[in-house]
Amino acid sequence: MRPFHYTRAGDVAEALRILSQDEGAALIAGGTDLVTLMRDGISGPSHLVDVNGLGLDEVRWLPGGGVRLGAMCRNAANDSRLRRAYPVLSEALRSGASPQIRNRASVGGNLLQQTRCTYFRLPEFACNRRNAGSGCSALQGDSHAQAIFGASSQCVAVHPSDFSVALQALDAVVLTEGTRGRRRIPVDQFFRLPGDTPQVTTELRRDELIVGVELPDSPFAARSHYVKFRERASYAFALVSAAVAVEVRSGTVRSARVALGGVAAKPWRSQAAEEALVGARLNEETIAAAGDAAARGAQPQRHNAYKVELVRRVVRQALSELG
């Protein structure tokens, strides 16, 4: 591992100062992703800025409705009010990694965790996301875990986070602070699709950090659910997952959100599936239509056509289990 300087930042301003002065500086929160990337030579910061002393670990309910989770809230966040108001969020968090990892992993780190694409994680393979312009080994290699939506000829990797899929279904906003001020970035805009610049994965600037995420009060949040399909019952990344949220009034769906995990470089919102639900009754037929709509337009790679059918089924299951 490349040697690095280490600073335990005392406040946000100090962290930002180091980030803006030292091009090679990186933040470390739980370290559950970054340490492995550094050990494997995928990431080599010259200066690590520890953000564990910044506070930023509050769950704060907002007077006008909604809630703010600090960037350093751990993935084990087990707040009963949060569970009731945003079930999909608690379920998604609980389905990720293992209890030990969740106890340490942070909200900010979870959003910024790197793809699990094997070729990205093994420096001996070409990867445009790791080394821009070097090529994409997944195109010729094993594509079973890769994207079926939003990929490009440069990169077919998927974002591995469960939490972010729930955030996408909840219209969450990422709160950042930088040397040039604060920003509020909707989750859907926060993550970028690979296009011609797969090395740029989010909107976050070099001299910015995530201070938290905000979940608005919404009419669909309380009736929401997360379903994750994986290769074993626990402690595995999603092959496909779905976060759904539905508002039903007088038997009719008034508003809905459907977001998919494991299928794209960002948590993938399926507006087509939402449209299949809104205005209809939530019955077997509409649920099947929503599943079909969610899978429409998928562009599978050589080894992952199975994900298209999985999308249908996972969406169907998630909506059926809403009751």
């Binding site: 280490y6 370290g31 340490v35 106890n103």
Partner: protein, 206 residues
């Protein structure tokens, strides 16, 4: 003795692994292939700045310890190599197996995917710190009574993880035990007995 200050004298094992690291680093920088096995470490020492070491003071199993450590040292390596606590095991060294589980302020975490310098002022408990003298911790006793292991490599991680689980959730159902112990893999597949041990430890408490 309450206070221990150690400059981490290099153990043979630490020396060997660090020489290997230095050698690999040199190769990556394009070092020539003619050097003998021992030479690259020397050459690397001359070529790069010696790593910065930083002091870190933490409480481990109730004892205050201070060490100077290269910031690259994982908490697991600091515990095993610098403090001689070999209870936490290095199974995968990438967060995938749970063998390195320790308690941070009573909460279970993985010590392999975190740096020791980040634990200034923290309180760490390893499997060595669970027993009260010769009296085994109830979870340890349950593992013995239920034969919750075969080769034993994963066991210290399993036990520490189970202690953390019962602190989070004192009365887990069998299904919850399976789910909440899933961060600890067992190559010998002693799972049925591990689950039985955790169940009985939970019952013993309630």
């Amino acid at each position: 003795m309450d206070e221990t200050t150690r400059e981490s004298p290099p153990s043979r094992r630490a020396f060997l692994s660090r020489s290997l690291t230095a050698g690999a680093g040199l190769a990556a920088l394009g070092g020539t292939g003619t050097a003998t096995a021992a030479a690259p470490a020397v050459a690397a020492a001359a070529a790069v700045d010696p790593p910065e070491t930083l002091p870190v003071s933490l409480t481990v199993n109730g004892r205050r310890r201070t060490l100077r450590t290269d910031p690259r040292t994982s908490l697991l390596d600091a515990l095993r190599e610098d403090l001689g606590l070999t209870g936490p095991k290095k199974g995968c060294n990438q967060g995938a197996c749970g063998a390195c589980t320790v308690l941070l302020d009573g909460t279970r975490i993985l010590s392999c995917i975190t740096f020791a310098v980040m634990f200034e002022g923290a309180e760490i408990t390893t499997v060595e710190g669970l027993a009260d003298g010769d009296r085994l911790h109830p979870v340890q006793r349950a593992f013995v009574e239920h034969d919750g292991f075969q080769c034993g490599f994963c066991t210290s991680g399993q036990i520490t993880s189970a202690v953390g689980l019962l602190a989070e959730n004192p009365r887990p159902s069998t299904a919850e035990i399976k789910e909440l112990m899933s961060g600890n893999l067992c190559r010998c597949a002693a799972y049925p007995n591990i689950v039985a041990a955790v169940e009985s430890a939970a019952e013993g408490r309630s």
